[in-house]
Amino acid sequence: MNAFIAIVRRDLLLAARRKSEVFTALFFFMIVVSLFPLGIGPETAMLRRIAPGVLWVAALLAAMLSLNRLFAADHQDGTLEQMSLSPTPLAVLVSGKVLAHWLTSGLPLVLLAPVIGLQFDLSARALGVLMISLLLGTPVLSLIGAIGAALTLGVRGGGVLLSLLVLPLYIPALIFGAGAVEADVAGLGAGGHLSLLGALLALGVFFAPWAATAALRIALE
């Protein structure tokens, strides 16, 4: 447990050291979202229709971009070796890293999303649903992402390969997440989508650290 906390603290410390990192992830999200109106055109009705999809896709990409960092640096400088030699089970340490990743990359998105939703003229209720869907969904992104990041570790062309592996796995989260907001905008209940998202999260919390650990062991040997 100590080592778990130590890992979370160290990763948060590293993120804080790169002072701007959390903020830049946020701005990346904002910029990607703003690219769409620029590419598509400014009509409000149209934008409101595509808003949930665009916001969720941007959240996906923001989460994915920061995945590279998750294990790569630790692999290169030998920290991962040290982690696997630690008496604390590797899966626990991996969970710590995933938690830190979500705290620095997922949580800020959840908090910022309503502001951006306003730019797309979403109603207050829809904004609430958007936040809840992101709150349930972004941890899933970090968890699944960890598996991908571990699998592509030390593999040539890792960065792009990673997105190739991970994006398809993200699709359920995307469909339920964006679906929840759309259902709410369309006046249907968002509850069904949200509980499916919750189920995904539960599944991820149980299995992802284990799978990521197995993948890390492969990369290490």
Binding site: A6, I7, L14, Q76, E81, Q82, L85, P87, E221
Partner: protein
Amino acid sequence: MLRAHGLACDRGDRRLFSAVDLCVSPGEWLQVEGANGAGKTSLLRMLAGLSPAADGHIEWDGRPMGEARDDYHARLLYLGHAAAIKEDLSALENLQTAAAIAGRPLDEATALAALRRIGLKGREDLPARVLSQGQKRRVALARLLCSQARLWILDEPFVALDVAAVTQLCGILDEHLARGGMLIFTSHQAVQLAGSGATLKLSASTHPRAGAEPREVAA
């Protein structure tokens, strides 16, 4: 006590070495020697449990490694070519987190004392990025000063160190041995250690195919 028998290592389609036997008891050191590419790093990683052996088996305190793994790792300190130094963290933070990950947290005073002893006085709070090559190695070596591990496996610990630091490190290793610690290390430089020890010579085999290889001289 670490004992290995009949170890072999394959890399690509080469058999680097085979039939390597070794045994390290408390208070003893073992220096692994060999030309560049002979397989020293490969052997050390195998002994640390980081990569599987192509053949042979390893015992810790009389139990096969498979069983003893957790106990073994709790008592092992391994430092490889890559020193696990985070460029963005200060020397102090690097030392403290390395210790915490290894499951033996350090308080700040102890960590600072270790850094000062290893010659990083006044550099404790610089990010590792700006340290010189030798100073980075020293940050990694500071872990030795706070370690209670029984077995140290060090891959070229003397690299990049200046003469004074080499002498100091020898002293640290001697202390460890005197306390009844065990030590396995590699070095291309000649090193004088107190205590009893042995040398294991790996000679690079040029035979391209895995198979029967002349037995290496074991310690």
